[in-house]
């Protein structure tokens, strides 16, 4: 058990490769992103992402063209098929890493992008296949983005940007764009989560106002464009919890509750472990002990006392019992 992951840790460091390579791959990733969004990448847009001097960037783009990865028309750039293959590979690495960090290593979701950005470079296809297999060949990264498959196809990006979503129609959040990180930080600080059902109640040039039925979220249009929603199907409808559903952490000592669900964004090993311990819907639970810092806390569940850290009890949704 120790050795493979130790191997993963080793990869983590080993493949923090030269800046040049990172820049190449980041440029390709940007071109791919622009292409999928239906935009055309330009010298200026590349410069915005890569933060390089004119001269450096010129050198980079010339090299990419020489290597047959990129075609240029004036100041505009496009990926060649070979360039697209490489870009998809990097994107796959990025998204798989994000998922691995979030699910298996428990890195907070706001930090996975930054860490994956460092780790994504220089992994071989075999390594990615292994990583993908180790998580049961996932299809979406923690932000809801599709992960390109090993054969280089990319599942269609789900959902519609919030800007194009009809007002007052309930929509389920299927994707929170993680770039730029600042916008993503705002979204997660506002409390928007994957799977949440929201409606647009106001849209002006300066702001977009959403509601999930309880809270209102005010977002700048720029930020709102990073939220993608899809139609609510009957299957996903219960994702909006009523007021009475709270995080287990909020239960005061001595209070009893019934487990409603585990937060859908809570995945991987930690989720399986809680399920195995009997944190299943309908289970009776009582908040029992709290330590000095109020973290961890211990709960009575199924005849035993189980201690959990706050990060876990925050993800267990319960309903208070009288």
């Amino acid at each position: 058990m120790l050795v493979p992951s130790h191997g993963v840790l080793a990869q983590f460091r080993k493949y923090r490769v030269t800046q040049a390579r990172e820049r190449t791959e980041n440029a390709l990733k940007h071109l791919l992103r622009q292409a999928t969004d239906g935009h055309v990448a330009s010298f200026t847009s590349l410069q915005g992402v890569l933060r390089m001097s004119d001269r450096q960037l010129m050198g980079l783009t010339q090299r990419l063209e020489r290597e047959g990865l990129v075609r240029s028309e004036g100041t505009q750039f496009q990926l060649t098929p070979e360039g697209e293959r490489v870009a998809l590979h990097v994107l796959r690495a990025h998204r798989l890493w994000e998922l691995y960090l979030a699910d298996e290593l428990g890195v907070p979701i706001g930090r996975v992008h930054e860490q994956a950005e460092r780790a994504e470079h220089g992994l071989t296809k075999e390594q990615l296949d292994r990583l993908s297999a180790s998580m049961g060949h996932p299809e979406l990264d923690p932000h809801g983005d599709p992960i390109p498959t090993g054969d280089g196809s990319i599942p269609e990006s789900p959902g519609t940007p919030l800007g194009a979503w009809p007002p007052s129609t309930p929509g389920r959040i299927v994707h929170l764009e993680d770039e730029p990180p600042l916008a993503y930080a705002q979204l997660s600080a506002a409390g928007l989560r994957l799977g949440q059902v929201i409606r647009v109640i106001e849209r002006t040039p300066t702001r977009v106002v959403l509601t999930d039925g309880e809270n209102e979220f005010r977002l700048a249009p720029m930020v709102a464009a990073n939220v993608h929603v899809a139609a609510v199907t009957t299957e996903t409808a219960p994702a909006a919890w009523p007021d009475s559903v709270i995080a287990l952490t909020r239960l005061r000592s001595g209070e009893s509750a019934e487990v409603v669900a585990l937060d859908p964004s809570f995945r991987g090993f930690a989720r399986r472990r809680l399920l195995d311990l009997g944190f299943t819907p309908g289970a009776r639970i009582r908040s029992d002990l709290a330590t000095l810092a109020g973290d961890p806390r211990a709960y009575r569940l199924r005849g035993t006392t189980i201690a959990l850290r706050r990060e876990q009890s925050d993800r267990v949704l319960v309903k208070r019992l009288a």
Binding site: M1, L2, S134, M135, G136, R272, G278, R302, G303, T304
Partner: protein, 272 residues
């Protein structure tokens, strides 16, 4: 339950004798599984006469300990496993337990449960019943449960589970003969069990039944193909790799040998 043991009249040691750590020649293998803190090691000590260290905290036993006892003329190797909540989630210690239950081919698995926390303990029992018929449930800590005002109807439990459930107090050795008798009968196949197994959704069952024959064809003689199928459906990478590289057979073979990763001395005595 066809074997009669009239222990009031027979001299106990004529039938049952601890053999300590002599595990070279044995007729049957018995595994001791259960949640942490259910008294597996205490039971192990009581049956083998060894002094495996016990302690009231989860993770006291992290390795496989082996001992032996003799009963009705047969020699039994007893394997004390680390406590585990489930056969699915695995830290290193739990993996030791899981691998042995799945691939160690024990003739009988004794699942030790805490009478005062049956609701937690039965989850593992049901999982073990999924993978093997030869199970005896030892309902331990009956005295503690009683002190807490909890009574367990082991007959009803036995009926519902379809395998023998024997109330015991491992610490005092209470009812040990009944347990050993039942273990012997199950291991010999004299007691025919009908373990409770719940079926999954039709789609799930279909997926499992598709995979099982494939696995059996790829790795002939592998125990618990059903479990492997479920793990593959779950996307369990160590299992995928073990299957692909043929290491599954090696894993099975390794369960027959003692846990070699640690010094036995440390496990038995130094590990205090």
């Amino acid at each position: 339950m066809s074997v009669e043991h009239n222990c009031e009249t027979c001299p106990v040691h004529a039938e049952m004798a601890p053999l300590g750590a002599t595990v070279e020649a044995f007729d049957r293998v018995v595994a001791l599984a259960g949640n942490p803190n259910t008294g597996k090691s205490t039971l192990f000590n009581s049956l083998t006469g060894l002094r495996q260290h016990t302690g009231n905290w989860p993770g006291k036993t992290v390795t496989r300990a082996e001992g032996a006892f003799q009963f009705a003329g047969l020699r039994y190797k007893l394997v004390d496993l680390p406590g585990t909540y489930s056969l699915l989630s695995t830290s290193d210690d739990e993996e030791v337990a899981r691998n042995f239950l799945l691939f160690g081919r024990p003739d009988c698995t004794v699942v030790v449960v805490d009478a005062s926390a049956l609701e937690r303990n039965l989850y593992l029992v049901l999982q073990v019943l999924e993978i093997t018929d030869r199970v005896v449930v030892a309902v331990n800590l009956m005295d503690e449960a009683k002190r807490r005002g909890i009574t367990v109807d082991t007959r009803s439990l036995s009926r519902d589970l379809g395998v023998p459930a024997i109330p015991i107090v491992a610490r005092t050795g209470d009812n040990m003969m009944a347990l050993v008798g039942e273990v012997a009968a199950v291991a010999a196949g004299e007691t025919v069990t009908q373990p409770l197994r719940s079926k999954g959704t039709p789609a799930f069952e279909h997926a499992v039944t598709t995979l099982v024959p494939m696995i059996e064809a790829a790795a002939p003689g592998i125990p618990n193909a059903r479990w492997i199928a479920i793990r593959l459906l779950d996307g369990d990478v160590p299992v995928e790799e073990a299957l692909a590289s043929g290491r599954l057979a090696e894993l099975v073979a390794r369960q027959q040998a003692p846990d070699a990763r640690f010094s036995r001395k440390i496990a038995l005595q130094g590990a205090q």
